[in-house]
Symmetry: T
Subunit: 156 residues, 12 copies
């Protein structure tokens, strides 16, 4: 059953579909990672980091919706189920238990670094097959790089 007719040729669609599915997994997991740290962070900078993490969650949720709906709009089924996310995410698992604020910052620098790296590859991959998708990924990468700067700026 393929109800939505893609506006792209098959080969292009494959490249674009993979980019969007990869971006979806990364963004859903980023939202879960940021929430996990948001709840478990401790230390003198608790409040500042706690609030900052919720802004990452907001960004990640917003863009996960954009890329998933973009996939659907192209006729590709997005997969954001917990098992799929757990299996495919490139973000290293956050340790359980309380997380010191300095570690929280470092975890986010790492997670954002990994996700931004993969998004950069997707920008390149989608440029020719679908500039509309590329534009969406460019936009979310700008937001992620801004978050990455802020966590780097406050890492010790």
């Amino acid at each position: 059953m393929s109800v939505v007719k893609s506006t792209l040729p098959e080969a292009d669609l494959k490249v674009v579909g993979e980019a969007l599915q990869g971006a979806l997994v990364d963004l859903v997991d980023l939202s879960l990672v940021a929430k996990q740290v948001h709840w478990n962070v401790v230390g003198p900078r608790f409040r500042s980091v706690h609030l900052q993490l919720d802004e990452v969650v907001t960004t990640a949720r917003l863009h996960s919706d954009s890329v998933a709906e973009r996939a659907s709009a192209l006729g590709v089924n997005p997969d954001g189920r917990s098992a799929s996310v757990a299996r495919s995410t490139a973000i290293r698992e956050v340790p359980s238990g309380w997380i010191k604020d300095v570690d929280a910052v470092r975890i986010l620098v790492d997670a954002l670094g990994v996700v931004v790296g993969r998004m950069r590859e997707r920008i390149e991959a989608t440029a020719d097959p679908d500039p509309v998708t590329q534009d969406i990924i460019i936009g979310l990468t700008a937001d992620l790089e801004k978050h990455a700067w802020m966590f780097q700026a406050e890492s010790e």
Copy 2:
């Protein structure tokens, strides 16, 4: 490192902590399931179901935050990481690909039914050890049962 001092005795805390951790996993997965169906649903009732699912997502996200922060407030570490969610959720996995609107409704009836059943047990379990936690779970169960009614009312 145990930074937050619980206001409950050890035995009570164990019961309450498990109830909150269970509720957290159920709610995070409910939010992911509802989004998955939100993106992949098709059929004449697409728009109605698509919008309704986002209201479930909003409810699930709001309450997952409440129960996770309640756990932290009691000195128990909440665990909402993708792998933990995938491993512990009681909601059956949604099939991949397009989902017909009648199936979407049925999936939600089932998922909400399972989660509500477990929440009912948690209401009973937390009554004595911590009425504050119980009140939070009572509140979110009312919301989930309202969503459950609506999906049942429109199932065919």
Copy 3:
């Protein structure tokens, strides 16, 4: 045709269903009574009482919706039709024609007193069979008792 499957056993459901149906009738009639007085009140305190009555209407409408939807969520059909309300309400009928402000206050003290008394019984009745329903009735009783205080405080 019983489309919504109750999460409660039959016996409990009967008790809870009666409590909700009784609350619904009381709240719908309270909204009509408060509007009737709102339109017909006269006297030096007209404006103050006229405005205060609309706050009672808002409270009664809000909670009549909550209890009716709670009934539906449990698989019990709420009945808020005019004939049912006229037949089952416990609030004494307001006299027709202009109502002096002091009488308006007394009418509300009486009406709220009757409704609160019956809600108190419902809080007790629903405690065991369904703490979720009980919590909703506790919440609306708090609001009604606040209105009751205010009308008592200004009665002469």
Copy 4:
């Protein structure tokens, strides 16, 4: 006790007062009927009809207030008590229990049809004695006819 001095001669006032009292009863009962169906509707179109009915409730409540306050402004006592509404309404009683969505639509087509018909007569009756009252009834009839169109447009 006749505290508000009418600006109309006695004979005109009688005609206008009856029109307003009739409109009040119809609108209050319309709000109760629409809420009753809002709570008890089931079927594939549940969500759409459920939401649409609340818009009818909003319209009916808004205009019932306008006509009741218009009556008071002319020195005529509005009567919106549950017993009066139950006794005088021209809308056929809604059956108790769950209501299928197709039946819900038909019930509203009928109820709105009856009310619009009576409002049309009131527009004619009030034209000469009080163009101010007529203008209010013209305005609410426009709103009711718009709702009537929408339910007709979706009836099967």
Copy 5:
């Protein structure tokens, strides 16, 4: 210099222009009278009357703008200068100094009564020459009669 071309024949325009100019003077003076009482009222009902008067001011200012701009739209120059208002108003002058709350209510009942009476004449006068202007005067008369009811309802 007659820059705005009227859409009405000369004779009709004269009637309509006089109605609008008369309405303008009444409404501007009503706003000044209500403010004067708003500032000088004293007595146990001070706060209630003080607030109620500002609602009259809001109504009077809103509608004075409507009728003045309606005049301009027909090519008739509105005149709302203080000297013109002082000279042509039909409202009796408010006494200087503190005004007891019961007197304040009586002053408003009188002022609104006078203005409403004149507006009723204007509704009749404008019906044939310009139904658009009539509709504006009908709308503002409804508002003024509502204020008049409220002050009568609280007069002792």
Copy 6:
């Protein structure tokens, strides 16, 4: 297929339906004309006229929706398709290319003059068959005449 049952007798419906269809075409074209000038106007008064034109667009769009939905509510199919509008509009076609601000003002004075003239006829035509429709046309004519005044007031 005639799904919406008119509340008017056949002969009245014909008159009212033509008035509404004519009004719809005029208002849709007015919105397109005002946008065309909004985009192409030049001259020292560019900004003022550019902004003013968007207020005409807002008015025209709002009322085109009202008259079209009024037609549907009466069971008459509104026709606002581009070809129908182009064929039936009474507004003279705007020249292509840049439009000087003084010309822009004159174009709007003319367009509004033509439309107001036709609306005046529709007010008369609908008075007897349907005062509800007439009330809608009276209301929009008031708005159009206000715009017409403003453009006349600033024409050179």
Copy 7:
């Protein structure tokens, strides 16, 4: 009857009371003058001047309320009745009929100039007897001088 006890000695109160009464008359008349020009202005700059005048009205109304309530707070009865305003205002009467935009600007430059000049004197007069009143007059003078600048800046 002197219900409000002044916090100032008699002599100071006289000076301050006169300053406030003078300011009240000037501000009420300024609001009427600005509205009069707002309704009657014509010319290429119509829209700009029309809108700008309403900002003067807003300022004048806001501050007339402040100074009148300040007078009451000191136990001095403010007098803003139309006859009092017409008799005591220092602003020259605006001519009747259409007003060209260049004349409109000049009228406002003159009116604001006169009012500002008198306010400057009141700032000096109230400095010693009541710095609280002075602060209010300083604040409103700043606003009036800003309006005065803008009309001067655009006068030809």
Copy 8:
């Protein structure tokens, strides 16, 4: 008269100007088509489709303004007059009369498909001559493709 100096060389400007003019016509007609169906749709899904169509109207109006103003900013005169739109649109004319909901969905799938196809060509055409214009067309294409997905998802 060429008042706005383009920042592009002549040849590039021609390509870009044609892309923008084509996009303008398509978007204006899309807004008229969506409104036509919005008013005339009937069937069980009436309400859902009726609301969804207004979102298409909002999108089409927003972007028609963007492309028209982009044309002006480049010194090219946009042409959105009804006759031009009727003559140049690529969207097939909607049949007159009531439109069944399933047909309404199909009409939108077709219309959006045609417009998206042409926008894709414009993205390619404008890439080199003006990446600023291209970025605007990429953005609106993303929105149109999202609407296209939703109508496809609910087509039967």
Copy 9:
């Protein structure tokens, strides 16, 4: 530890610091007194006085924050602890238990009278040493005198 460097010479700072500390105590206690009466007032004017008192609370809380932060800004430690307030307040203690509305008004007239008297002295005292602080106290005194007028105006 003196972390904030004052911008004032020592002698001036002492005067200004005492004025601010005195103002802080008066305003904090005024907020507590107004709340106490807000909760315990009874009588026919209950609602009006109850609402009016909350406006005093809002004013008192707002300005207590301003004066405390002004003290900190000058390097003086504000002291708003309950024991300090209880010990230093100049407002007479409110009797416990229900308070009749006429007494409530009198209590506020007295409390505001005392506080305004002391603020007047602080305006004088701070004029030379710190016009910035004086300006803050002038502003809050205007607000307090407005409240004082209103309670006087309604005292019997």
Copy 10:
């Protein structure tokens, strides 16, 4: 004078009244303590702690109003006067002068710990005599425990 009739038997009322009065004193003092630290805190984390404290103030003020009005609604006079608060509070007095940020955090951990402990006892005490009151105290305890967690999480 006992104007408000309690809905509880005497013995229950005594228990509930004491719980509410105790909660009121704790919450009022908590609001004063949090403001005191808000104004006097210094150190590198000044801004973060300063903002966080105002959220405690907001919580404490909101709930002090709820418990005081709940007491009144039961016919028990709440006592929130400064002397009563100073005498009965269980929170240790904050030292005067600047407060280092680490000390500020510790002070709040202690204050919230004490208040939460007492609230826990009140939850138990009110369970049987008045579940409505208990529900209010449960709700505010959840909020206080959340604040307590956050200050513990950031204590060093």
Copy 11:
């Protein structure tokens, strides 16, 4: 000290960093130039130009923040100090003193023309090294070109 790790290779970073630094200086100076003219403009079109200039200020401030934070996000230090801006800006200095409205328009046409020209070069320069930065500059250029059109359209 280089705290933020760039995601770009050194050579690309140099190009992108220069583009961003150049854009920052241009945008900061544009905001200062627009404010300077906003304050000093005179002439019949004063109000229109004065308001329009503040929209340029808003645009320039918004985008100066975007490009500066983009630079930081790439690890390049933005320099928006007054001396740097004064030294590096490409916008010609505005003459001191009053500026006639026609000159104001010309000044903005020139300033926007210069800045747009340089932005066009930066779009080209950044295309390969960093499409994310390019997208930001494309977006702000669209806004600047829209402002440029408007000032050209009204230049004489």
Copy 12:
């Protein structure tokens, strides 16, 4: 060309004009300095300082507009051009490159200290010649001293 006529004598105007021009330069540069640090700050307190600096920017921009428009209102040309600001500012230049958070705080303490000192002199200088201008400078100094306190409170 001196279009705006000052309301002050020449000598006073000179003093006041210099005070306003000086204040303008200081405030514009303060906004640029605060933005520069906002973009370049790094260190553990990055987020807190970054946000706090934007509040300084908001304050500085708001008041720079007030003083510039006050100058114009007096007929004195404000000069806020980048070269003038760079030449006349009293704030020491911020070093280029990353700025550690502790240094950022120190830079702001210094900058605010210098500006406040100069504002204090302007308050004195303008007291006699123009109390209206003085009031504006008093108000902005209060805001600057509040910012100064906060940065001092968090400096190490």
